[in-house]
């Protein structure tokens, strides 16, 4: 049978391991958050200016098309492939709307 002293020592070391795991994972989580936010900032998606919509939509379409071509080479991920194709169609629809609205405005 294990003594209380051993139990106490074991539980303390477990707590230390847990604390260490948290301490190790936190900076990674933080840097991951910062990395993704930086990606959005650099690509100009956090605050799209008035006349930047056509350019940002084009950029998003390129990213979706890139992913779609990867997915077309795979026999799996059919659902993701359909989802990417749907998103691409949606972006094209929005692109047409933004273009039409812009044209309408400039002719006013």
């Amino acid at each position: 049978m294990l003594s209380d002293e051993w139990n106490l020592g074991w539980s303390n070391s477990q707590a230390a391991i847990r604390t260490e795991c948290r301490a190790v994972s936190r900076p990674y989580e933080r840097s991951e958050k910062e990395r993704v936010w930086k990606l959005l900032l650099e690509a100009g998606f956090t605050d799209i200016a008035l006349d930047e919509f056509p350019e940002r939509i084009k950029e998003a379409k390129q990213v979706v098309m890139g992913r779609l071509s990867e997915l077309l080479e795979l026999t799996t991920d059919i659902q993701e492939r359909q989802s990417a194709a749907y998103s691409l169609a949606m972006l094209k629809k929005l692109e047409t709307t933004v273009w039409r609205t812009g044209k309408h405005r400039s002719s006013d």
Binding site: T46, V64, L91
Partner: protein
């Protein structure tokens, strides 16, 4: 609008509460408004003001860096489809997405950011994900 004791100035009490006056970065400089509600979007939180303007959290003065955001895989298919239906509906009614700080601008901005992240991230592997 004059700043009052109710105004948000520091990140210590983040996020601000409903009814508080917030200051945010806009094209014409700093602007103020009264917070009506806080709403999660596809990527970040939007601050809805009492006059209907929609301001992304990262444009509010005092917002911590980096702001809180959602991972693309946390957004459900239903939520995404509802968002897309709303965008199509706003587009069909003739709203101009370039009317800054209005719903269409805010929703389209979030949708583009979400779509970009979702498919850009799909090809990315975290350093320890071997």
């Amino acid at each position: 609008m004059k700043p009052t004791a109710n105004e948000v100035g520091t990140a210590a009490s983040w996020p601000p509460e409903e009814g508080q006056i917030i200051r945010f970065k806009s094209v014409g400089g700093l602007k103020t408004g009264t917070l009506k509600e806080l709403r999660w979007g596809l990527v970040w939180r939007d601050f809805i003001l009492e006059d209907g303007r929609v301001i992304p959290e990262h444009k509010i003065l005092g917002c911590p860096e980096p702001p809180v955001w959602r991972k693309a895989d946390e957004v459900t298919q239903d939520e995404r489809e509802a968002w897309e239906r709303r965008l199509v509906s706003m587009a069909e009614t003739g709203l101009d997405p370039r009317d800054r700080e209005q719903s269409f601008w805010a929703d389209l901005n979030q949708y583009l950011a979400y779509t970009y992240l979702r498919f850009k991230q799909a090809g990315y592997k975290a350093p320890d994900a071997q």
